[in-house]
């Protein structure tokens, strides 16, 4: 197939012509590409907000309820862990379809970027919770013990010891979640979620418009790069080890 493509390009002229065509087509595509980018950013932003809002406490609870944790509760932990595992084990595309009823109940529709925020959040919350759990486990137990010895309340230990000490790991986990959400959001396009993924599938795949395909690939790569670089920068600035 690639060979055919090259033959086709060779017949038409060469790769340079193909690129020139693509660049010339860019202004025509731009309005819809811009809209798609904004939709993607919108979905990923809100899904990230909800992931932190629910995933962070969930991750903290997973660590705190463990034996030797702040509030050991083996049964509660087993239940939480099982819920998280269920969320983690579903392929996102299946999860998206599975929660359609909930989406309709919460948003009123199953189409569009706002509706996509529901499955995106549900998919990312357990993902982020596990990353939070891992980051918190990295915190030196001796430091937590020292805080106990200083007469620190458990709630204060979470806020002033666990979270600040794990901050580089938490930010790294957050970046990973954002990147995963960008990829999920493109999948949401497959069932009418909007955004760049939607554009790639409708214009690029179904209408055989390669230029749209290339453009969405370029934009997605740029968005992921920007998110990752910003995150790395933040992690470096927060690391004091």
């Amino acid at each position: 197939m690639i060979t055919n493509e090259i033959l086709y390009l060779a017949q038409e002229g060469n790769a340079v012509t193909a690129i020139t065509d693509f660049v010339q087509d860019w202004p025509n595509m731009w309005p819809s590409l811009w809209l798609g980018t904004m939709d993607t950013v919108y979905m990923v932003w809100w899904a990230t907000v909800f992931s932190v809002l629910f995933g962070l406490p969930l991750g903290v609870l997973l660590v705190a309820t463990d034996k030797g944790g702040l509030i050991p509760a083996p049964t509660a932990r087993a239940v939480l862990s099982a819920i998280v595992n269920i969320g983690r084990s579903l392929p996102f595309i299946v999860l998206m379809v599975a929660v359609l009823t909930l989406t309709r109940f919460l948003v009123g529709t199953t189409l569009g970027p706002t509706a996509a925020i529901v499955p995106l959040s549900i998919g990312a919350i357990p993902f982020f919770a596990r990353l939070v759990e891992t980051a918190l486990r990295e915190v030196d137990r001796g430091v937590v013990e020292a805080a106990h010895a200083m007469g620190t309340r458990k709630f204060t230990i979470v806020g002033k010891v666990l979270l600040p000490e794990a901050m580089p790991g938490l930010i790294a986990g957050l970046v990973m979640t954002v990147v995963t959400l960008i990829s999920y959001s493109a999948m949401a396009g497959a069932i009418g979620g909007g955004g760049l993924g939607d554009l790639a599938i409708r214009e690029g795949y179904q209408r055989f418009n390669d230029h749209y395909l290339w453009a969405t690939v370029i934009l997605l790569v740029v968005i992921v790069q920007v998110a990752q670089s910003l995150g790395d920068l933040l992690v470096r600035r927060l690391s004091r080890r």
């Binding site: 001796g142 430091v143 013990e145 200083m150 007469g151 620190t152 002033k160 000490e165 004091r240 080890r241």
Partner: protein
Amino acid sequence: MIDAVGLHKTYRLKKRRIEALKGVDLHVESGEIYGVVGQSGAGKSTLLRSVNLLERPDGGTVRVGDEELTSLRGARLRQARRHIGMVHQHFALLASRTVAGNVGFPLEVAGASRAARATRVGELLELVGLGDKARAYPSQLSGGQKQRVGIARALASDPKLLLSDEATSALDPVTTESILALLRRLRDELGLTILLITHEMDVIKRICDSAAIMEDGEFRESGRVLDLIGTPGSLLARSLFPLPEHGGPETVFITYPRSFDEPFMSELTRRFDVDVNILGGGVEQVAGQSVGRLSVDMRGSRRGEALTYLSEHGLLVEEAGK
């Protein structure tokens, strides 16, 4: 300062039961440095953690000052802990906070104002000799400096009691020396009581007034270091001054638990007509006192009388043959 009676603690690991404390009594006088020495697994760490109830003993009571800690829970226990400083083997500093932030942590937890914290943190850092490191992060400090920060933090809430969990075990000999000197100075200047655990006999020898040898969840021996050194058969004396290898059946080991002005050796030869030949010896500082130890060959018909004479004068006499 500390009165712990009948401490018991058992851990259950799968099917094994480990008795970490088998009825330990611990009495620490106000203003003294008390060292508990033992191998790892002897239970000394559990004992130390029982004092501020990081580990709640299964049985027994712990009193610190005039408060019975074992009867406290929740907010009142946290309040009591704030008056007991603790220093940790691996420093346990918050990597995300500056030196000043670490030292100020206990004050922050206790609700002190920003201004009050800043003043106190400045004083504490001067006290431990780190006045210029307030804005550094722990990762930029050496081990000895980290432990000084740990000590400053432990002193932040002005405790009367300091617990030291192998505070020098992660440090090199020179740094260990300086940290021990600092602890001793703080005890003298602030009137602190210090309870420390260690596996290094040297720490006991250098700074402890009293000591206990712990083995398998029990105290084998405890008391004032100088008294123990003067006690025949004392494990502590043996550990502090291992008997030299050389010497025959006539060899006698003589320990001077304090300095004496009397010329014992010439007195012996005059009075009892024995021949004394010095094989080896040395003087060491123990608990701020000079403790001497000699190994000598002693021959003569009145040897027994000579040895009794030495014992009666407060010297510890051990015969190699016995």
